[in-house]
Symmetry: C2
Subunit: 347 residues, 2 copies
DNA sequence: GTGAAAGCGCTAACAG
DNA sequence: CTGTTAGCGCTTTCAC
């Protein structure tokens, strides 16, 4: 009763047979190697026409098995539904396509174990040719198995200490410094930083550093309790609890808040609305990452903008270099892009 | 000078040889077929240990070539960096992973040709087992080559007329009706709908229908010019020009605006700010798609919320059904999910 | 200029 | 319960 599957996909063999030539010839045509092997224009044309006629597309699995090259690249980010990452990924997709690569995109959920298993699956199972990684890992040696194999891998957004891997990142310290400085200059004395945990992530560390540098440079009293870690999985509750605590304090009451990323900022903003906290009058507020919300909210939110386009295009550019010319383990590219602080009404 | 690649990946052969057994046995263990073939617990354990010890992972290219099954699914959306789609995709990723599938995610940029070539690449080249498609195509027959092969494919978000393919979508008409009705009930007489082009996309058509239904039901004068098409590639300019025109009119001046999707809404909101248009006093405003911005903007924006979670999980569920039990071309699943109108301050 | 043949790593039919 | 074997579709070496 089922509809019959009439038209199986043609293989290279079908093309060859229907033309009375060998598979070799067809293969050479597919791979633009006719020149190299001195195939005549006429023959090439003949084969090409047949390929078009039969709608032949080479089977990548077979090619992959034979050549060991997949023209796939693995892309792992913490969460593809976070606009910061989805924008980067989109750029990578476009750039990769231009060079015939297809990305396999995965979300690690800030989970080191999941990340490792995704990497293994991409590298060992799917045989991606290279990896672009916004890593959640704590230590570089968890990636040693890649390094040992000299596997093309570029770190983006987050660097890894002593990783010795090419990295495309952003000057988080400078960005955080600028953000904190703004708060200080507008009169804040008690500034908290809400940063996503785990705290060892390089971007978080650098943001903390920038924050502390500003605090110290302007001789504000620094208090360890003003740097709070917000767990990735429970942002809203953590933000609410901490804000409750910090705003209740009699002495040293919070008057400036720096949200370490866009999700934390959103939770803070919800809190402000629910608890009728007036920003910037009662509390000045800035955030890392610039998202659409910040331009339209009331008040508009000052934020550290990251150059997503550039992160995306550089990351593929660097990976491509690795893919084509091999790793230079002694001296991996380290690209650090500037951020831009956008001052709006919240600070 | 280069670091030697010491540790090649082990193959099924290596495992078998180092254990003195056959590849078959190892293969059976990998694929959990030991029960089926009555392999002893002991042997299985022995093989499994070796696999763990050598860090073996089956080569998917080989498996794919042999079995014709890739455990890959293709996912094509107009733009992965649009939060509406990135959220759906994220759900699909999670659900697929639970069943051992990996998504290959692509953006079509609302370009039919690009979409077709992506489909071909996914299906013929990458050999994905199934497809989840938020299609930009005009007519279903462009997908006939898939239907002929009985290829598992589910349409999401947008349906295709006479496609006879399983579809997971949303009741756009009802959503648009509710949105328009709100505008009418709050006193608007001259309501425009800004919809993304191409206008033949089912969601757009349905939204137009819902809009018109409300207009007619409440006996407002309907004017063709009040439905404007905004090209995907030039949203901002188109929105600005049309708003300029419609707001300048002496008679029948615009007093209500319905943005057909989130990107259009953002452009409108920028316009409002730049031109100091007071919403809702001067112009009432609603949008399709609910994004974070709408909850925080001033004023907050009323919007038709789509059940992204459900779209994502249903789409994989339906595809899985196809994958496991085959197509039912006579009677494909058509799942229509309700939308929810969220009234905020803008209307 | 072109073709024959081997083999990438895996699965499954069949044999024992 | 376990092994032998053929072959998926392609690229590449070598031969003519």
């Amino acid at each position: 009763m089922n509809m019959k599957e009439n038209s199986k996909k043609p293989s290279i063999d079908d093309i060859a047979r229907s033309l009375g030539v060998s598979k070799t010839l067809v293969s050479m045509v597919i791979n633009n190697k006719t020149e190299k092997y001195g195939i005549s224009e006429k023959t090439r044309k003949k084969v090409e026409d047949k390929i078009a006629e039969m709608g032949f597309m080479p089977n990548k699995a077979a090619r992959r098995l034979r050549t060991g090259k997949s023209f796939l690249i693995g892309v792992i980010v913490p969460d593809i539904s976070n606009p910061f990452y989805s924008k980067i990924v989109r750029i990578i997709e476009d750039k990769a396509q231009l060079d015939g690569y297809n990305p396999m995109i995965c979300s690690s959920d800030e989970d080191s174990e999941k990340e490792i298993s995704l990497i293994k699956m991409l590298v060992d199972s799917q045989q991606v040719d290279g990896l672009i990684l916004s890593s959640t890992l704590e230590k570089a040696d968890e990636l040693d198995f890649l390094r040992k194999r000299n596997f093309p891998c570029v770190l983006i957004d987050r660097s890894l200490p002593e990783a010795n891997l090419p990295t495309v990142s952003v000057d988080n310290e400078q960005g955080a410094f600028a953000a904190t400085e703004t708060l200080i200059k507008s009169g804040c004395k008690h500034i908290a930083l809400f940063a996503i945990s785990p705290g060892y992530i390089s971007t978080i560390e650098e943001r903390k550093k920038g924050y502390l540098k500003a605090i110290q440079q302007y001789k504000l009293s620094s208090d360890k309790k003003m740097i709070v870690e917000i767990p990735y999985n429970d942002i809203k509750n953590a933000v609410y609890e901490n804000l409750d605590g910090l705003l209740k304090k009699k002495t040293g009451k919070l008057d400036g808040l720096f949200a370490g990323n866009n999700n934390i900022a959103l939770a803070c903003m919800e809190y402000f609305i629910e608890h009728k906290i007036k920003v910037p009058e009662q509390l000045k507020f800035v955030s890392f990452d610039d998202i659409d919300v910040f331009r339209f909210s009331s008040p508009t939110i000052s934020a550290v903008e990251q150059p997503v386009e550039e992160i995306g295009s550089w990351s593929f550019k660097v990976l491509k270099e690795l893919l084509e010319n091999g790793n230079n383990l002694q001296n991996p590219a380290k690209i650090s892009l500037p951020t831009r602080f956008i001052k709006r009404k919240s600070s």
